[in-house]
């Protein structure tokens, strides 16, 4: 079966600085795939190339079609939800309005009616605090709102950029528990970028390790855990 998402020799640059030197990877339907690597290895840029927030060369194929270059709105409408670094919430809008924006991509009202109850099952507290201004939520709550907002649009592929950043370990575990549940319940496909390799390898079936803008190591999570280089550099034992 052809993969849901495939990157072939993708390159991207910020002005004169090349961030990706030909990244190739695949994500199959229903899979959780982790993208690991040190700071500046190109993890975030890889997600940004897919969502169109940075221009790329090379091929990115989603559901058998070339993805629109540099057009994030078109990529979102194609069914890819990108929860970016810093979460990209509308901090001045309410929790509910943020969720409405998540449903925008598929026609707000109808989508929201169908999807909000499903999402509230995973995040019951969101329903109670729907009128709260998003900017006044705690960091963990904001990350969960960003996740919930992405889910409301029922994406074919969810891309998470460092969901653990700046959060307490219990909150991180809670977030990954929900991602795993969604994957098991609905077959949600996830591509997750993480510095916290331990927690990412727990959730993901497969992973890629990026080094200086290229895939250095790839394999099943269990394999990578045994890989000496990965253990030393990313798992810390």
């Amino acid at each position: 079966m052809s993969p849901l998402l495939e990157l072939r020799r993708v390159e991207a640059r910020y002005g004169p600085i090349k961030a990706l030197h030909g990244v190739s990877l695949t994500v199959a339907d229903g899979e959780i795939v982790a993208l690991l690597g040190a700071n500046g290895a190109g993890k975030t840029t890889t997600l940004r190339a897919v969502s169109g927030t940075v221009r790329h060369t090379g091929e990115i194929v989603f559901e058998g079609k070339q993805i629109a270059r540099g057009k994030p709105d078109a990529v979102a409408r194609a069914g890819i939800a990108h929860v970016p670094e810093g979460r990209g919430l509308f901090t001045q809008l309410s929790v509910w309005e943020n969720l409405r924006m998540g449903a925008y991509v598929r026609g707000e009202r109808r989508t929201l009616r169908a999807e909000a109850p499903r999402v509230f099952k995973y995040f019951p507290w969101l329903e109670r605090r729907r009128d709260q201004q998003a900017g006044t939520l705690s960091g963990g709550e904001q990350q969960m709102l960003a996740l919930a907002r992405a889910l409301v649009g029922r994406p074919r592929l969810l891309m998470l950029d460092e969901p653990s950043l700046g959060l307490a370990p219990t909150v991180v575990q809670e977030i990954f528990r929900i991602v795993k549940e969604l994957n098991a319940d609905d077959g949600l496909t996830v591509l997750v970028v993480e510095q916290n390799a331990n927690v990412a390898l727990d959730a993901a079936a497969r992973a890629y390790v990026l080094e200086v803008g290229q895939v250095a190591i790839e394999g099943q999570s269990a394999e990578l855990r045994r890989h000496e280089g990965v253990r030393k550099s990313y798992l810390g034992y």
């Binding site: 969502s51 927030t53 994030p72 709105d73 979102a76 409408r77 939800a81 990108h82 970016p84 990209g88 919430l89 509308f90 901090t91 001045q92 809008l93 309005e97 409405r100 924006m101 998540g102 925008y104 991509v105 026609g107 707000e108 009202r109 907002r149 649009g153």
Partner: protein, 301 residues
């Protein structure tokens, strides 16, 4: 110099109500400025001239026999299309350039429209019909002209309709989202460029309403909105340039205060109203730059 009137509450009430009517006009134009400022971060100096142009369009239609309200509605549609077109054609190409480029562009647009209006319609002052009867109603001893009530109603009605649009509709929500965070909006599938164009369209509609409501009293001439624009600037700055509520409250306040000062403060009179508005603008900028309702922006250096 006109002597100040002896104070009576009836006279005071009249000054306040007529101040509210002109204030509603300033509020409309101020709101137009805020709409564009929120998304583009730039003050549209051509806002008043765009309004003047559309008012001339309305005048032309009425001059050719169309009655007031059909001409009014058609003008709003034309204004909307014009606003959208200005954004798509003129602003879009310089969208990512420094803000000063856009400012200069709107100043250029100001001069161009001003010249165009003078060239097409001639410099002479024209009378502009009012849709409201020329009589007054007496409420609690205060005589209020129907003209003032109508002006206030139309302007505030538009503001409320716009507010409901932004609160209740998907499109309105998307436009607000774009104002707060365009990058995140793109990731939500919003066509950000079109939302900006819609913002210009709505701003032009507000301007057209302000122009058509102002024209019966200030008369139609190529510079008619100049003064109104300055009051609207003062109103927007007073309310907080990024706050729609502030723009409306600021507009009404400026309208009433200027009217009262003109009537009761000896040295202000008719002639010093405009400098007074500019003084308000300066004082607000010095004491409270974010305005009454504005957000305080902290820049990290």
């Amino acid at each position: 110099m006109a002597l100040p009137l002896a104070f009576t509450w009836t006279e005071f009430g009249q000054q306040v109500t007529s101040g509210l009517a002109s204030g509603a006009i300033y509020a409309s134009l101020a709101l137009a400025l805020v709409l564009i400022y929120q998304t583009t971060n730039v003050v549209n100096f051509a806002q008043g001239e765009m309004a003047t142009f559309t008012t001339y369009v309305a005048w032309t239609m009425m001059h050719h026999g169309l009655s007031y309200w059909p001409a009014f509605v058609l003008t709003l549609l034309i204004a909307f299309g014009g606003g959208v077109t200005v954004e798509r054609v003129l602003i879009r190409p310089v969208e990512h350039r420094p803000e000063i480029v856009i400012v200069i562009l709107t100043i250029g647009l100001f001069i161009a429209i001003n010249g165009l209006v003078g060239w097409v319609f001639g410099p002479e002052v024209k009378a502009f019909d009012s849709p409201f009867p020329n009589r007054s109603v007496v409420l609690g001893g205060v005589s209020i002209s129907v003209q003032d009530i109508g002006t206030f109603g139309v302007c505030l009605g538009t503001v409320v309709a716009l507010w409901l649009f932004f609160r209740l509709t998907t499109l309105g929500l998307a436009m607000r989202a774009v104002a707060f965070n365009p990058d995140a909006s793109r990731l939500m599938g919003v066509r950000v460029g079109w939302m900006l164009a819609l913002g210009w369209g709505f701003a032009a509609v507000l301007g057209a309403i302000a122009g058509m409501m102002a024209a019966p009293t200030v008369f139609l001439d190529p510079d008619m909105m100049l003064v109104v624009l300055i009051y609207a600037f003062a109103a927007a700055v007073l309310g907080g340039i990024d706050s729609p509520v502030g723009a409306v409250v600021g507009g009404l306040l400026i309208g009433v205060v200027i009217n009262l000062l003109g009537a009761y403060v000896n040295f202000v009179g008719q002639e010093l109203r405009l400098p007074t508005a500019l003084a308000v603008l300066l004082i607000v900028l010095v004491i409270r730059p974010s305005g009454l309702f504005g957000r305080v922006v902290v820049r990290k250096v």
